[in-house]
């Protein structure tokens, strides 16, 4: 048993824990000031702001879509249900780069809708709307997939009781269903947030990398690294890693509550 434990822990340390530790060390090895300065330049602040904007648009939209879709899939019967169910997973099977390419083929200069948007003076590719679309694409399945099993597990008894006692569908949803699935929704929201914060490939293809305009935090990490500014790359990474740590803690808290409920 000891050998197994050491193998498992050694693997995790070498692959994850120590590398992440080194990033923190490298960030501050030339002092806190340099790192602090690097993440507070106007370009850096804009990059973090843009990343938050992606989250604030993509996550609520996907949460609405996710809860509605999960309810349809678990509570209703309709034709094409299994097709819809399997299509939800598609974003997990698509490389982020392909997502970016797809958006260029739709909204780019020579894309399907390129002319229409150009005529109306709307820029999607190499601009924020394209980056938002890319982010929505990559984090679409999370809420559906977290809420669905919870809906299945709680069953329909309470909802039916509420309905026979005269509650309207809206009342039943707000008073019975939503409180029962809230931890699942929360977990899905956290996973979507993490993915939206960290998305790189899809956004990289459609952003055009204009520092201070279409550069998110993850794109900035690459830009700083390739511009031979390691402190810039490491310090932006540390900020992103701290956001990731916040995500982890929230996941942990939700998981514990879920276990208590179960």
């Amino acid at each position: 048993m000891k050998a197994l434990r050491f193998t498992a822990l050694g693997y995790l340390a070498a692959l994850i824990l120590v590398p992440v530790g080194v990033i923190f060390y490298r960030t501050f090895e030339r002092g806190v000031d340099a790192a602090w300065h690097s993440v507070t330049t106007p370009e850096a602040q804009h990059a973090f702001w843009l990343t938050l904007l992606m989250v604030v648009i993509a996550v609520p939209l996907n949460t609405l879509f996710g809860v509605t879709t999960a309810l349809l899939l678990e509570r209703r019967r309709f034709r094409g249900k299994s097709v819809l169910n399997s299509l939800i997973d598609l974003p997990f099977a698509v490389s982020p780069v392909v997502v970016g390419l797809a958006l260029i083929l739709l909204y780019g200069r020579t894309g399907w809708f390129g002319d229409w948007f150009a005529d109306h003076g709307i820029r999607i590719i190499f601009s924020v709307p394209g980056m938002v679309l890319a982010t929505i694409f990559v984090c679409l399945p999370f809420v559906v997939r977290e809420v669905q099993p919870v809906l299945r597990e709680i069953g329909t008894e309470q909802e039916e009781a509420a309905r026979t006692l005269g509650a309207s569908p809206a009342q039943t949803f707000w008073r019975i269903t939503l409180p029962a699935i809230r931890l699942g929704v929360g977990y899905g929201v956290v996973l979507s947030t993490a993915r939206a914060l960290g998305e790189f490939g899809a956004v990289a293809v459609v952003s055009g990398h204009i520092s201070g305009v279409t550069e998110t935090a993850t794109l900035r990490v690459q830009d700083r690294f390739e511009s031979f500014d390691p402190v810039g790359a490491y310090s932006a990474s540390v900020v992103l890693a701290l956001m990731g740590a916040a995500v982890l803690l929230t996941m942990n808290i939700l998981e514990r509550r879920r276990r208590k409920v179960a």
């Binding site: 048993m1 197994l4 434990r5 193998t7 498992a8 822990l9 693997y11 995790l12 692959l15 994850i16 824990l17 590398p19 992440v20 080194v22 990033i23 879509f65 509605t68 879709t69 349809l72 209703r76 019967r77 309709f78 819809l84 399997s86 299509l87 997973d89 598609l90 997990f92 099977a93 698509v94 490389s95 780069v97 392909v98 970016g100 390419l101 797809a102 260029i104 083929l105 739709l106 694409f137 679409l140 309905r163 569908p169 993915r195 960290g198 998305e199 790189f200 490939g201 990289a204 293809v205 993850t218 990490v221 690294f225 490491y234 990474s237 992103l240 890693a241 990731g244 995500v247 996941m251």
Partner: protein, 263 residues
């Protein structure tokens, strides 16, 4: 559901909600993927075939599949082992280790690549430089795919009835035999589910490999990086053709895994 009396209010809403859901999914996911597929076959099957059989594309696709297979195999072994240790072993700091498993989901992929490069790159404090090599590429993929098998196997292992194991042990089976003959068959569906997700993720991964692999054609350039390069070189048809191959591989794999999982 069916046993309830008719509910006209809801019945009227289902088509509306259903319509909105289908529209959203179409605009966000289906239409873009249709555009990629259409572009790939823009110049006919011949042009598609020519694009995917470009030597550099073939090398990238072969490397992608090969390294994804290796990474998945390592994940099967290490993921199951880690899940086993987390469920059956007791040690201090287990809660922390358990939380650490999800870190690759919480950490941006570009940061994952950079962290590996900081420890195993040219300025490596441990004297191990895997930057711009296939080993570095595999490590990046191992990092981002770590949670899949662990998180699939862990709950199953928690639920496994230990009576059978104890019976096997009392009848004289060694720990390895007990694991192989009793535990492993129970875990197989979870391992298949987790490892196919890991494989699909490895096929398309971009952010974590872009810094550490160095993107050397014929050596460390994987499919997603090749597609990115073709977009930048304005060979959109070539990019779309290779995209379709990757997409098809991932979709078929996940569908097959879904069938095995249901059995």
């Amino acid at each position: 559901m069916a046993s309830l009396p008719a509910r006209p209010a809801i019945a009227a809403r289902v088509p509306l909600a259903g319509g909105v859901v289908v529209l959203y999914l179409s605009v966000i996911v289906l239409l873009p993927l249709a555009a990629v597929t259409a572009k790939a076959f823009d110049g006919g099957l011949g042009e598609f075939w020519e694009q995917v059989t470009q030597p550099q594309a073939v090398a990238a696709l072969k490397l992608t599949i090969g390294v994804s297979l290796i990474v998945t195999a390592i994940n099967v072994v290490m993921g199951t082992l880690i899940a086993w240790v987390l469920v059956r072993d007791e040690f201090r700091g287990k809660g922390f280790v358990n939380m650490l498993i999800d870190l690759p989901f919480a950490l941006p992929t570009i940061v994952a690549g950079l962290t590996l490069l900081a420890l195993y790159g040219s300025r490596s404090p441990v004297g191990l430089n895997v930057a711009y090599t296939r080993v570095g590429l595999a490590m990046a993929l191992l990092f981002v795919t770590l949670p899949f098998v662990v998180r699939a196997v862990q709950p199953t292992l928690q639920e496994v009835d230990r009576d059978m194991e104890e019976a096997a042990a009392s009848l004289g089976a060694g720990p390895w035999t007990t694991f192989r003959r009793i535990v492993l068959p129970n875990l197989r569906p979870a391992i298949v589910a987790g490892s196919s997700l890991a494989f699909a993720r490895a096929l398309g991964e971009f952010g974590s490999v872009v810094l550490i692999s160095g993107n050397l054609p014929y050596k460390t350039e994987v499919g997603s990086v090749y597609i990115f390069g073709q977009i930048e070189n304005d060979n959109v048809t070539g990019a779309a053709a290779v995209s379709v191959v990757l997409l098809l591989a991932a979709v078929l794999l996940l569908a097959a895994a879904g069938r095995i999982g249901r059995r």
